[in-house]
């Protein structure tokens, strides 16, 4: 399953983000707002990542 970072992920300390889960590359890619393939999502990161297909719809700006 692919995930990307929510805003809150970027605020996490190194002891909480993917640096602490043996993947500095996943951490870098999440910071770069890339989709990342994750097999077993650590529970503590669940609320900081967005699963592909479950993104919130972007609200359209009302220009009128």
């Amino acid at each position: 399953m692919k995930y990307k970072a929510d805003k809150s992920y970027k605020e996490l300390k190194d002891s909480q983000n993917y640096n602490a889960f043996m993947s500095p590359m996943k951490h870098q890619r999440l910071l770069n707002e890339e989709w990342v393939e994750i097999t077993n999502l650590p529970k503590s990161l669940n609320k900081h990542l967005i699963k592909q297909g479950q993104e919130k719809p972007v609200k359209e700006k009302n220009n009128g």
Binding site: A20, M25, T39, N40
Partner: protein
């Protein structure tokens, strides 16, 4: 009186520390430590090569002032051979290309972070050889700030009961030390290794091959950057001097599936997919390999050896992806 002690190889435990640590500093006892399923290993020791200056004309001997030790150029390298468990694979991937969480993905953009002395790095590992120290008090050998320069994953129906074998070469430019380092806790990896007889998918370009053995190697080279002082000869850091190269080979039964990939064997410069997977828990995928001079082998029945090199389709695509749990 001569010392009567000796050091049995099987008394030595190899434990690897991971997590963020400054380059040049060993992982703390409170960090994450894993006792990997090691079956063989090599050892290092702080040491130096000896340079010799030229002798003066009219003399024919070498005098001691001509000798110069060179700890400033020394690198340290150990190889670990492990049973193919998830942590053996993921720890190797972490130290080699910075992704030790399944799916471990190597893309052309991968790296192992800033490799500069005293700067934090989450890809480097500390290797602790418990019981390998030569001293009765300092009983361990500690290798800090190690990165992998190569790893090989392989399976063969003819050896180790088909079990996966992982070989990793770990490299450091910091002197190994003999001391005591007792991790607060460590996880002993007792997971079941992957096995060639459990492979459910074995395809090249979607052709289902009857595979006898396969192996894949990922490698790169590192160099030390100078030395900071003449006390410890610590480097200023490391630089990576080559791209990641992913090569491998498959040996399989020669049949009409080989005939179906003949155009790629003959050489069409087209990348094709390699997939090796168990029904769950293991998938190795190289989306773009090119076959490199494949030949038939003559035994009691014919087999085909397929050497290959893996490429990423672009800088953001996988060269290799390993899903392992």
């Amino acid at each position: 009186m001569a010392e009567l002690n000796f050091q049995p190889k099987n008394d030595i435990q190899v434990v690897v520390g991971t997590g963020s640590a400054n380059l040049g500093t060993a992982h703390a006892v409170s960090d994450t430590w894993t006792k990997l399923p090691i079956v063989d290993f090599s050892l290092e020791q702080a040491s130096a090569t000896l340079d010799v200056a030229p002798h003066r004309s009219s003399t024919y001997g070498q005098t001691s002032n001509m000798g110069r030790h060179r700890p400033d150029t020394q690198n340290y390298e150990v190889s670990l051979t492990m049973r193919g468990t998830p942590s053996a694979v993921t720890t190797s991937c972490l130290a080699l290309f910075g992704d030790g969480d399944s799916a471990c993905e190597l893309k052309p953009t991968n790296n192992t972070g800033t490799m500069k002395d005293a700067v934090t790095n989450a890809s480097a590992v500390t290797v602790l050889f418990e019981g390998a120290g030569s001293d009765s008090i300092n009983t361990d050998i500690i290798m800090k700030s190690c990165f992998a320069t190569s790893m090989t994953i392989k399976e063969d129906i003819g050896s180790n009961g088909g079990e996966m074998v992982v070989e990793v070469t770990l490299w450091s430019a910091y002197r190994p030390t003999e001391g005591l380092l007792a991790p607060t806790t460590y996880t002993s990896d007792t997971a079941t290794p992957k096995n060639i007889f459990d492979l459910a998918t074995k395809t090249v370009d979607s052709q289902d091959l009857i595979i006898h053995s396969w192996e894949i190697s990922i490698s790169r080279s590192l160099e030390r950057v100078g030395y900071q002082d003449t006390t410890d000869y610590d480097p200023f850091g490391y630089v990576q001097t080559s791209p990641y190269e992913v090569t491998g080979s498959i040996t399989c039964k020669r049949d009409n599936e080989i005939g179906d990939i003949l155009d790629h064997i003959e050489g069409d410069s087209t990348a094709i997919a390699l997939s090796l997977a168990e029904s769950s828990g293991f998938t190795l995928s190289c989306p773009g390999i090119m076959i490199d001079n494949s030949k038939p082998e003559v035994g009691e029945y014919l087999t085909q050896t397929i050497p290959f090199r893996a490429f990423g389709a672009s800088e953001t695509d996988n060269i290799i992806s390993i899903t392992i749990t």
